[in-house]
């Protein structure tokens, strides 16, 4: 194993009081939001060590989300690949069909304790929007979801789900009309309505304390997977694989394994049409550090510092930034970041559907595609855990269009 550039203790100490993960993270927002972020940080610091809050969160995860999610040995798929045994962490089986609900349940509890009557959220693929609309319905809060108009086209089913749940979906027409623009618009709305509104950020990006609290709410994935792997196999896995857009499902899986140094961690970004084409969404592989959406992190920006438009077949990965903790995991050498193309992800989508009867989200298909490359290089007694972060029903329309098939609109 290659030498780490930073001690495990230091990695685990992040973030500091100001939300820094080494040179990354922090709080880069306009002054109007600073008070709200301070309030949230104070509330979270208090609740994160409050056994009553944790018990309430755990109860919701068990009885509303349906946790623990299974760790499933994908035997046929593994054997076909001919190498390591691959286990899938089945976040697709959660209520609302993705890992996103873990975080929205947690943040909705915080909103409730802070006495907020409305929540807002940004969404790319729509999974976080659905998960936010879901918890808002349950708690009787008003919910407004900001979504790029390009993504609204790609994810009509999720848009309708949000509306059925009682949420207002606001189409964002500025910039590239995708996730980053939805996040800009959500921030603008939050500035204007900061007194009564809680902003449920869907990923480990954004200003402090969001990267920390979203990570903590998602870390249930890794804690469960670690215990399940030991229970089923008597040992830890050899490698973890998860897709990275903003990076919440990946951090959720990785974080509880950080001190298990022998466990390799692979974050898989969207290479879109190929890294060489420039049409991708792979800031950790191809970008450089910069500041966007409240934190310093790896970004895709041009030589003048303008944010570049990204491309991925998967709306949830179509984002030019990434959570700051991934930036430090990359620099430290503790995690490795790779990228797979649209085509490779689509091929993995079909393999898993046909060999295991599990239809994965296109986001998760990126992780699966990398596992297809990794498994054959490993021995048959080795274990890979892939985070199957969401189910693919929402993507059927996209895949059908690629196949040239008209499904009902």
């Amino acid at each position: 194993m290659s030498e780490l550039k930073m001690s495990i203790e230091e990695l685990l100490s992040f973030p500091d009081d100001k939300g820094h993960f080494g040179p990354y993270g922090g709080r880069f927002v306009s002054e109007t939001l600073m008070a709200a972020l301070d309030d949230l940080a104070v509330m979270y610091k208090d609740k994160s060590t409050d056994p009553e809050f944790q018990a309430e969160f755990d109860h919701d995860l068990a009885h509303y989300v349906g946790r623990p999610s299974p760790l499933y040995y994908a035997e046929r798929w593994s054997k076909k690949l001919g190498g390591a045994r691959i286990f899938l962490k089945r976040e697709d089986l959660n209520h609302t069909g993705a890992h996103k609900i873990n975080n929205t349940v947690g943040q909705a509890l915080l909103a409730k304790y802070m006495g907020k009557k409305r929540v807002i959220a940004e969404t790319g693929a729509g999974q976080h929007g659905v998960a936010s609309a879901t918890v808002a319905a349950r708690l009787g809060m008003q919910c407004t979801v900001f979504m790029g108009s390009e993504d609204i086209q790609r994810q009509t089913l999720n848009v309708y789900r949000m509306k059925l749940l009682g949420a207002e979906v606001v189409a964002v027409d500025s910039g590239s009309r995708t996730l980053k623009d939805a996040m800009n618009e959500a921030m603008r709305h939050w500035v204007t309505n900061v007194d009564d509104t809680f902003y449920i950020i869907g990923t480990v990006a954004g200003p402090h304390p969001y990267p920390q609290l979203v990570r903590d709410f998602q870390a249930v994935i890794g804690r469960e997977a670690r215990a399940q792997c030991i229970e089923q196999n008597g040992c830890l896995p050899d490698a973890l694989v998860a897709c990275v857009g903003g990076g919440s499902n990946a951090i959720g899986l990785f974080h509880p394994f950080i001190s298990d140094e022998a466990v390799k961690m692979y974050g898989v970004e969207a290479a879109g049409h190929g890294l060489a084409t420039g049409e991708h969404a792979a800031p950790l592989c191809e970008g450089k550090p910069g500041v966007l959406h409240g934190s310093r992190t790896y970004l895709m920006s041009d030589k003048a510092g303008q944010i570049i438009e990204t491309h991925s077949v998967s709306a949830g990965l179509d984002y030019p930034g990434v959570g700051p903790e991934h930036s430090i995991l990359k620099d430290s050498g503790r995690a490795e970041y790779v990228a797979v193309t649209d085509e490779e992800a689509l091929s993995a989508f079909r393999s898993l559907t046909q060999l295991e009867g599990i239809m994965p989200a296109l986001e998760s298909s990126h992780a699966l595609a990398y596992a297809e490359k990794l498994a054959p290089t490993m021995k048959q007694d080795q274990i890979i855990i892939v985070n199957l972060s969401g189910r693919g029903d929402k993507d059927i329309h996209t895949v059908a269009v690629i196949d040239g098939i008209q499904v009902l609109d």
């Binding site: 109007t32 800009n184 900061v194 910069g290 510092g305």
Partner: protein, 270 residues
């Protein structure tokens, strides 16, 4: 003495308040900016805030978002903005120029190089919207070395303790954001602003400029009663947006709004 400090002292001596127009550099085309700056000075501007176009202006409303898009469609970079300031300085060595923008273009250029280039171009102050004082020490060091003022925002949500902390890192002036919202928002409550401005002035000797939501002479005058300056942006940028094909109309439109504001603000202090 810095141009900004000199400007506020001169105005104070004359019993007047600063009129501070904002336009996005390179909007609606790069050739318009320098002539527009000169014309704004003639129409009564005391300090010019020049926006650095950015792809993701999170604190701005639709008017300034579109201004950024227009400037970026011409490929305007931070380096170009600095060239515009140099060009302006060939004819105007008096009027302070403040750059207002977001951190990523500045960070991409490099803090030290940016400070050098900005000083050389004749920039007097820098206001980075998404850079609160907690994160600003490094760039402030370079700006200070080059005698460029660091201007910070204070918001309606800022506590008095934070106002003090912000003022301890700021120079030039304090930019008070008059409302919870983005630039170009709806009507502001001038009485509430007056109260906040008095609070801030009780905590610092720095001049206080007020911006966001000032759209006409009447509001500018009401704001100037308590504040040291009125910042006006979106209503000017609307003129530029309306007259994209005719630069002289854009300049005339901006000019006429500034003259109205200047007259209203000066009347008040007479």
């Amino acid at each position: 003495m810095s141009r900004i400090k000199g400007c506020f002292e001169r105005l104070q001596g004359e019993g007047r308040k600063a009129l501070i127009p904002f336009v996005t550099a390179g909007d609606s085309n790069p050739e318009l900016t320098v002539p527009l700056m000169h014309s704004m000075v003639k129409s009564g501007a005391d300090i010019i805030e020049l926006g650095i176009p950015f792809s993701d202006p999170m604190a701005d409303g639709p008017v300034i978002q579109l201004a950024c898009e227009r400037a970026l469609s011409h490929g305007v970079t931070l380096a170009d903005v600095l060239l515009m300031v140099s060009e302006f300085r060939k004819q105007d060595n008096q009027t302070p120029v403040v750059l207002m923008g977001y951190l990523n273009p500045i960070e991409t250029m490099g803090y030290e190089y940016f400070a050098e280039q900005a000083a050389e171009a004749g920039v007097d102050g820098v206001l980075t919207v998404d850079l609160p004082p907690e994160e600003a020490d490094e760039i402030n060091g370079y700006l200070l070395q080059k005698k460029i003022d660091s201007i910070f925002l204070v918001a309606p949500t800022t506590t008095p303790e934070r106002v003090q902390k912000i003022c301890s890192k700021a120079s030039g002036y304090i930019y008070y954001v008059s409302l919870k919202g983005v630039t170009g928002s709806a009507a502001l409550d001038t009485a509430a602003v007056a109260e906040r401005v008095s609070m801030i002035k009780g905590l610092t000797d720095l001049p206080v400029g007020v911006g966001f939501g000032i759209r006409n002479g009447e509001t500018a005058a009401a704001i100037a009663k308590n504040a040291d300056g009125a910042v006006v942006g979106s209503v000017l940028v609307e003129q530029i947006a309306k007259n994209q094909q005719q630069s002289d109309h854009a300049i005339a439109g901006v000019s006429s709004i500034l003259k109205e504001m200047r007259t209203a603000m000066d009347k008040l202090n007479r």
